[in-house]
């Protein structure tokens, strides 16, 4: 509580983020260069290249999804602090329509990565006389249709929410906030179910005999953590380049608080899943972790708690640290790197029992997808005002915890 009248009473529209076309062109160049590297990888080792495709596609797919999820959660909880930041996650979600194309392209690689895809003849259930569920659930048509269907619905809802939000910029349309709140509720509930299934399908079914009820929550917590890290990075850069008002320091500190809390949550989920499987010691579950702790893979496994938990948790513990932008940038980069390694760790040991370090295909895939992701997101920021000036809560948000 401060008793000085330094409240912001006028919303000043900073306009779109003035990004030189050089930068967006650079993103395209990076993507093209990455594509070339990946194709070289594909020619040398197709299995490895398609694994790299999956890893990097999921990496940016999750970032894009975290954008719309964050937006939806803010609408749903009627959050008063966040409207000023909202354009950032909205822009991240603008990658989703392109993701649809690349998810479809992935069908070229699916038969190589998912051993069950060409039929279940070679697979036995855990008990031979049990009614097979995987023959139905993991069958080519059902698998393909539901993955694309989920993404189509996400795109529809994301586009709708973002379009409503942008419409508010030029006209007083407070009812759209109410409507977006409803859409967000629909989105979040649908997302909880469909995202869990997507994670079971794309990641868990790589090991068709393995199962864990926590898996959806585990992948989700990684998605949310890396999403907040990406929002933090973009917010800090946007503020430095005057695309967002200087007063959002309090918001950036709060994002730091989220990063701190989510690092604890992520490690909690990861530890519980691991510990329960380790403790019960059932062979149908433990093989997943055994594969990932042998033949050198333990090295990658150890990086996960380090990057996703120890570094953010220890560095962000002091309250002053959450205000330190350089530190926040470092921690966010660690978290995003951790998320990439996490996906790498979930995908690769399935087919490569010996540790494989990132190769040409991984780097190519990473550059390609990250380049495309940045291009779509920054094109969005170039086109639309960075502050949703028409949001009914924008003044409260601008005055948040200065």
């Amino acid at each position: 509580m401060s008793f000085h009248n330094d409240k912001i009473t006028q919303v000043i529209d900073p306009g779109p983020w003035k990004i030189p076309s050089k930068v967006t062109n650079l993103f395209i160049a990076i993507a093209l260069f990455g594509a070339i590297l990946w194709v070289i990888g594909l020619l040398t080792n197709p299995l490895r290249a398609w694994s790299a495709y999956l890893i990097n596609f999921l990496f940016v797919y999750f970032l894009a999804l975290s954008g719309i999820l964050f937006t939806a959660i803010q609408y749903m909880t009627n959050a008063k602090w966040s409207p000023v930041l909202r354009r950032i996650p909205e822009g991240m979600s603008s990658f989703l329509p392109i993701a649809f194309l690349f998810l479809a392209i992935f069908w070229l690689g699916i038969p190589k990565l998912y051993d069950w895809f060409d039929g279940w003849e070679n697979f036995h259930g855990l008990t031979s006389d049990i009614k097979r569920s995987k023959v139905t659930w993991l069958s080519q048509p059902f698998f393909s249709v539901r993955l694309l269907f989920f993404l189509a619905i996400w795109i529809l809802l994301a586009k709708w929410i973002v379009a409503n939000s942008i419409k508010q910029d030029n006209a007083a349309l407070p009812h759209l906030t109410k409507f977006n709140t409803k859409l967000s509720i629909v989105f979040t509930i649908f997302f909880a179910i469909s995202f869990s299934i997507t994670s079971y399908d794309l990641l868990m079914s790589l090991e068709p005999n393995w199962f864990s009820t926590m898996f959806g929550v585990y992948v989700f917590s990684g998605l949310f953590q890396s999403g907040i890290a990406a929002i933090t990075i973009i917010a800090i850069f946007a503020r430095r380049q005057d695309a967002l008002p200087l007063t959002i320091k309090g918001h950036i500190r709060d994002l730091g608080g989220f990063l701190f809390a989510l690092s604890a949550f992520m490690s909690y989920i990861g530890f519980c899943q691991f510990m329960l499987i380790w403790y019960a010691n059932l062979p149908e579950e433990t093989f997943y972790y055994i594969k990932r702790t042998q033949e050198g893979w333990w090295f990658i496994t150890l990086l996960l708690p380090l990057l996703k938990f120890v570094i953010p948790f220890v560095l962000l513990m002091p309250s002053q640290a959450k205000k330190n932008e350089k530190l926040l940038l470092f921690v966010s980069v660690c978290i995003i790197l951790g998320e990439w390694i996490d996906i790498y760790w979930m995908v690769l040991p399935t087919h490569f029992s010996k540790i494989t370090l990132p190769g040409i295909a991984d780097i190519g895939g990473l550059l390609f997808f990250v380049g495309l992701f940045c291009y779509t997101a920054f094109s969005f920021y170039k086109k639309h005002s960075m502050v949703p000036t028409g949001d009914p809560k924008i003044l409260t948000s601008l005055n948040w915890g200065a």
């Binding site: 509580m1 008793f3 510990m275």
Partner: protein, 187 residues
């Protein structure tokens, strides 16, 4: 950053010096009066409020608390002790194979390591709060120097009378900032 002198100051109870009390009816008035008092350069100014007023501690330049350090150290020690203790009981003092688990099975020890840190950290926070906030002091337990309205809806600025803070001077200052009531308090 925390200075050693601040820690000592927070452990040592305040000296019993006469206080000049200026009574205010709103937090705003108190806040502005506190700012002016600090501008005037009074030393050891404090306030009495029925609820914490954010930012007032910064205005009054009250050195920040060393509580977080105590909590952190206690928490880490609690965790470290429980980790050592579980290792010692399970692998050294009476090594016993339970369910084929390794003698030092860290995943199974993690919950108690966590709880040990929580317990010691939390209890330490409470005890250190009693020390730094001058609570549980025998004199204060028996006697409260002010009346009910100060824990209800009235605010007060306390300026200690000393060599630097002249009584006459303080009184005119409090009148100047519009105190509702001014009185001298000798503890």
């Amino acid at each position: 950053m925390l200075k050693l002198s601040d820690i000592i100051k927070q452990i040592k109870p305040p000296e019993n010096v006469p206080l000049m009390v200026g009574v205010f009816l709103t937090p705003e008035e108190l806040y502005h009066a506190a700012e002016k008092a600090m501008d005037k350069g009074y030393k050891g100014v404090d306030a009495i409020t029925p609820f914490p007023i954010h930012g007032l501690d910064e205005v009054l330049k009250i050195p920040s608390s060393w509580l977080p350090y105590a909590t952190l150290i206690a928490g880490v020690s609690g965790s470290a002790f429980m980790l050592w203790f579980q290792w010692w009981t399970s692998s050294v003092n009476y090594p016993l194979n339970v369910g084929g688990k390794p003698l030092f099975s860290w995943p199974a020890f993690a919950p108690i390591v966590f709880e040990g840190g929580e317990l010691l950290g939390g209890v330490t926070t409470f005890i250190v709060l009693l020390i730094t906030a001058y609570l549980c002091r025998p004199r204060a337990l028996i006697k409260n120097p002010l009346e009910a309205k100060f824990t209800d809806d009235t605010f007060a600025l306390l300026i200690p009378i000393s060599k630097e803070n002249n009584q006459q001077d303080v009184e005119t200052f409090l009148k100047g900032v519009g105190a509702d009531e001014i009185r001298l308090l000798t503890v």
